[in-house]
Symmetry: C6
Subunit: 246 residues, 6 copies
C-alpha cells in the first residue's frame, strides 16, 4: 500500500528506503556532525512534502532562528516564506529565552522553558495550524541534554515520541553526532526511534567524503549500506548505487 | 534427547546450535545494534514456535507498542493477530505509563511501574494465559537501566532470571549493544544468561555486513564462529556455512 | 618433588605447567569471556582430581545452580552425582537469596548473604565434609563486585585468599574477563593470586580462535605462550605445541 | 549579493569559502592546537578587514595581554598600534584580575570578573567605540570553562552568541582543540556556531603538516576538504588547491 | 668512582646501566605485569648483593608471605634461609592483618596497619638489624592504593622516598603495571623515583616476548632500548645486545 | 633585534628557534616523559646562560633535592656549586615539608607549603639574590596538582605566569607528560604558556627514539618538525636537520 509510506523527496533517499520512503507515522532520527547538512536534510523533507506531495510541515527549532533558516534555504532555491504564507509550513521557535541572571538561576529557567509539556504543546499547535503531516525537531540534543542523567533522558525521549505519535505525523528528530570515527558508541536515541539515518564525513586518503547511511527503518527492508552524498546547489543528493570504501 | 532442546526455527540458527536449538528452560541474551533485527529475531522465535512446534509464546515489550509490532511483522508474512486469537501468542505491554509531571516526579513513577515484581507478575500471567513455552523480553535494557549502579543491576537481573526459570519456559532477553567495533567490553548480562547470541554489523571494505555469532550456549557444543545473516522478506536468515572476514 | 604439584588432568595443561601442574596449596585465577569454558575448566579440574588422582573437591557456586551444572557436565560424560555420592565432590551454593523488597533493601540483603565470613565458613564446611584437596569458587566476580571501591575489593580478596590457604587445598578462582581485545587493563585479581590462566577468544581472519595462556604461575617455569584450545565432547583440550598468530 | 559576505582577506581562505568569505553577521568557531596560529588567524582577519575592506574590528582577549599581541604581530608587519590610533581596531582585555587569596576565594572572584554580562558589555562598548564590523573573542575556552557542567556551558555560549548577533558584526570565536588525532569527539561549540574552521597539525611520515579545514559554514557551499596551510612571514597562508594525505 | 654504583648482579642488567649499576642511594621503580618476574628480579638483586658484593638486604613484603617467597626462590637455587641465618637478609612482613569485621570497619584497620610511619619503622628496623645496603618494597602498589586520591598518593610516595634516602640504602620499589599495550599512561611513581625499569610482555606474531627496558636512571647514561629477557632456571637474564621488534 | 631573544645555548635548539632562541620574557613549557632529560634540559639552559651569555639563573625545585641535582649534573661536566658561589645560580627548594601526621592532616599542610604566594615569593627572592635573567620551575606538575579541579588549576597557572612576567626573566616550566603515544590530549598548560617544547620517546621498529619538538613559540617563526635528540656526555643535543619517521 503506497499510502503507508511518506516519500522524502530527497534525491536518492527514497530509493534506499525500499523505493518507498519513511513508514507513515514513524519518527526517524537523523544524526550527523557539524556541517553535515542535517538542517538542510530536514528542511528538504518538509519542502518536498509541501511542494511535491501536498503535505504541510512543522519545523520546531531549538537552536537556529527561523530568520536564519529562511535565508540559508534560499541558497537552494527553497522559498520558505512562500510556503508559510500558503499555510504549508510553520516555524516554531522554542529555543530558551534568557532571563536576567540576577533574578533567577540561569539554567533553571532555561529548563522550564524547554520542559516536555511546552514542547509538545508547541508541536500540536503547529500541526493544527497548517494541518501538518510532517514534523521536524532540530536539534533534539538541546532537549535531552537538560535531563541530568541517562535514564531521565531516555524516559523524556520516550514520552516525547509517544505523544508525537498521536499527531499521526511522520517526524524527523535531528541529533548531533559525538565522534568522528567509524567505530562509535550507539546513542540511546538510536534505539528509541523507529528509524535512524546517519550523515557522516570520513577522511578517505586525501579527501573528506560525505556518507549517508540508513542504519535502521522499522518495518522496511532498506539498503543499509553506506552511500556517498553531496550538498549541492539544490540541496542534499544521495547516490544510492555508489559505494564508499573505508 | 531431542525433547530437551527448543528449535528456534530460524533458518540456519539451529544448525549452529549443534543441530538442536536452545536447551529447554534456558534464558538466552540476544544482543544487537539499531536495525540489526533483534525484534524480528525474537518474534520469529515465537512465530516458529507457535506454527511449527506447537509451542505458545509470550512477548513482553518494554518499548515498542504491540500494534506496531503486529504491523511490522506482517511484512514477513507473520500474522500475529491470528496467533493471538488462537491463544498461541500473547503480547504484554509493560512500558512505563507517563504520569503528569506536576503530580509526582516523572522518573520515580516510571521506575515503580517497572519494578521487578510487576514485570514478573506480568510474565507469569501471560505464560498461564496461553500455556506458553517460550518467552521474550524486549528490550531488557530498559529494565536494567533503572537500577542506579552496576551491582544493583546484576542483582535485579539475577533475580529476574531465577524467577523466569520457574516458569519452565525457554526465554530470549533482547539487549542493546553499546558499541560498533569488533573489540568491546563484555556486558554483565552476557555472564548471567545461559546463552549469548550477537547480531552485529561491520564495515568490510565498502559494505556493511551483518554478522551472527553464538558466543555462548551452556551445555551445548555450538559453532561459535561469526556467520553472515540477512534480513529477508521471510525474516532473519543465517548462513551457517559461510565465513566472515574481518 | 612430584608430590608438591597438583596435576590438573586437563589435556595439554600440565605440559604447559612445566609438565607438573599447579603448585600444591596455590590459588589460581582462571579468567575468561562468556562461552570460553571457564566452568567446564573448573569442573574438569575437580573431576580429574577425583577420578584420576584420588583428590576430593569442593565446588562453590555463586551463580549457576548445582542442578544445571550437573546436567551440563553430563555432556562431557562427567557424572557429578556419582562423585557426590562417593563423597569425592561437594557442591556449595552460596548465591544470594532474594528477600521480599518490601521488607528490606534488596541489595543490602544480598550483600549480607555474601559476606566474607559466610563464604569462608561454607568453603571450610565443604572441605571438611569430603576431605577435599581442591576448591573452586565460580565466579569470584560476584563476590568482589559487592565491595564499593577497588581498595575494599583488594582487601576482601586478600583476606579470602589468606584464609583459603589455611585449608591446604589447591584452588581455582573463576573470573569474568572485561574486554575482548589483545590489549587490556590488568585486573587486580591477577596480582593477588599465585597463578593466572586466561581463556580468551580472538578473531583471526574469518575465524574465532580460542586461546589458552598461562600468564603467571609462581614458583614454576611455565610456558607463557598463547596456545589454541578447544571445547570438545570430552571437555577442554589445550594444544601445547601449537602456535596462535595475532 | 557580494555585500552579504565578509572576505577574510587571508590568502586562500576566501577561495575555500565559496570565493566569498564569511556570511555577514555569522559567528565562526576557529579551533586549533597550541602553536597552530589561531591568534595570528584572528588578528589577520581584523587587520585585513581594517586595511583592505574598511571594516573596523574589536579584539577581546581573555588570555594574552594586548601588549604581547601587538609585539608579536609586528613580526608579520602588522602595526596594530597604528590601527588603534586610527580607530580601526580596539583591544579589550577581559582576562580575570587576581584578588588576594586571603580576602576572598580565588576562583569565585575570577568567575565574577568573567561573567557573561561583563563580557557582553565590554564587546558592545568596543563595537560602539570604533563602529566595528568584525569581532574576535580569544579564547572562548576560558569563558566556557567557568561553567561547571556541559549544559550550563551550552546555555552560556548560546546566550553569548545570541547577543553577539545584535551587534551585526561578523565574529570569530577562538577555541582550543583537545586532542591531536584525526578521530575526535566533536566539541559542543561546533554545533552552536554558524561555521567551524579547524587549524590542526598532523604527523605525515616524518613531517608535521599544518591542515586547514572549513568543517561547516551555514548558508554557503564551501570546500570542506583538508588543505595545507603555513604560517609565513606575512601571516597565515592556506593552499586551497593542494591536497593532504592521511 | 666505582664505589658510587651498586651492581645489580643480574645478568645483562649492569651492562645496560652504563656498565655500572644503580647509583648508590637511589630508589628505582621496577614495574611489570603479572608473571613478569618482578619478585624474582627483586630477590635476585638482594641475593646477588649478599653473595657477590657483601651487601646485606631488607625485603619488605606487602603481599606475598615470606615462607612462599623462600620456597619459590629455591627453584633458582637461592637459599634465602641461609642468608637470613647469616644476617645477610631480613624479611619484613607488613601485609595488613585482618580484624574481625564485627569489631571495626575492615578497611579502616587495614589502612592503619599500613600507614606510612609503620612502614618506615619496619624498614629502619630491618636495615639496622642486618646493616643493610639494599632495600626492596614489594609491591608499593598496595601502599599507595590506600590513599584515596592521586595527590595524596603522590605526597605519601614522596614522603616515603625521602625517608628511605636517609637510610643510605639503594632501593627497589616494585609496582604493578596497569595495561598490556606499548602505548600507556605514565604512572606518577615513574616521575617520583630516580630510576624506572619496566618488565613487560608483548605479543609478537605468534609469541609472547618478555621485554626489559631501563626507562630512566638519574645521573647515568643508560641504554634505554627495549631488550629481551628470560626467566631461566637461574633467575632473570637480560640480553643487552639483542633487539626487540614491535 | 638580537637582544630580544635569549639563546638557550643547547646544541641544535636555537637553530630550531629561528636561529634566535626564546623571546625574552616569555615562559616556555618543557614537557617530557620519565627519563626524557627534562631536568638536564632545564639546567643546561641555566648553565649556558651563566657561562656563555652572562645571565644568572634561578632553579626552583618542587621535587628533586638540590644536592642530587648538583651531583647528577657533574656527569655533564657542569659545576653548579661554582656557579652558585659566583652568584650566577641559585637553587630554591620549595618541595613540601612533611608534618607529623598525628598533628595535622598530611595533605593540608603540604598544600599550604606550596601555595601560590609562597612560590612567587621564593622565585622573587631568588631573582633578586643573583639578579637573574632566567628562571626554571621543575616540575610545575606538583604545583598544579594541588588544585582540585581543572578550572582552579588554569587560574592558578595563569596567576603564576602573570607574576612571573613582572620579573622580566625568561622562564622554563617543566611538566610531566601523561601518555606515551603520538596521539594525545593537549594539557591546558600548553595553551597558557607562550611556547611549548616536547621531549618524547617513541618506539620505531626495534628502537626507542628520542624526539624533540618545538610545538609553539609565540612571535617566532620556528621549525615545528619533530627532530631527534640525544642525551650525551655533554648534555642534551638536538639534531635540527635530521628527520624522524613515525
Amino acid at each position: 500500500m503506497l499510502e503507508d509510506y511518506v516519500p522524502t523527496g530527497i534525491p536518492g533517499v527514497d530509493k534506499i528506503l525500499a523505493e518507498k520512503g519513511i513508514p507513515k507515522g514513524h519518527t526517524i532520527l537523523v544524526s550527523g556532525g557539524p556541517g553535515s547538512g542535517k538542517t538542510t536534510f530536514a528542511i528538504q523533507f518538509l519542502y518536498m512534502g509541501a511542494t511535491q506531495h501536498n503535505e504541510s510541515g512543522v519545523y520546531v527549532t531549538l537552536d537556529e532562528e527561523p530568520g536564519d533558516i529562511r535565508k540559508n534555504m534560499l541558497n537552494y532555491g527553497w522559498d520558505m516564506k512562500r510556503l508559510e504564507d500558503e499555510k504549508k509550513l510553520v516555524f516554531i521557535n522554542v529555543s530558551p529565552v534568557r532571563v536576567t541572571p540576577s533574578e533567577t538561576g540561569l539554567i533553571q529557567i532555561g529548563m522550564k522553558e524547554f520542559r516536555l509539556i511546552k514542547l509538545l504543546e508547541a508541536i500540536k499547535r503547529g500541526v493544527k495550524e497548517v494541518n501538518a503531516k510532517r514534523v521536524v525537531v532540530d536539534p533534539i540534543t538541546i532537549f535531552t541534554l537538560q535531563y541530568p542523567n541517562e535514564v531521565e533522558r531516555i524516559y523524556a525521549m520516550r514520552d516525547l515520541l509517544r505523544d508525537l505519535r498521536q499527531t499521526g505525523c511522520t517526524n524527523l528528530m535531528i541529533s548531533e553526532l559525538r565522534g568522528t570515527g567509524w567505530e562509535r558508541e550507539h546513542q540511546f536515541e538510536e534505539y528509541l526511534t523507529q528509524g535512524v539515518i546517519l550523515l557522516r564525513t570520513f577522511l578517505k586518503g586525501s579527501r573528506m567524503v560525505r556518507v549517508f547511511q540508513a542504519e535502521k527503518m522499522r518495518g522496511l527492508a532498506i539498503d543499509n549500506q553506506p552511500r556517498p552524498y553531496e550538498i549541492t546547489a539544490k540541496g542534499i543528493e544521495v547516490y544510492p548505487s555508489a559505494t564508499v570504501y573505508k
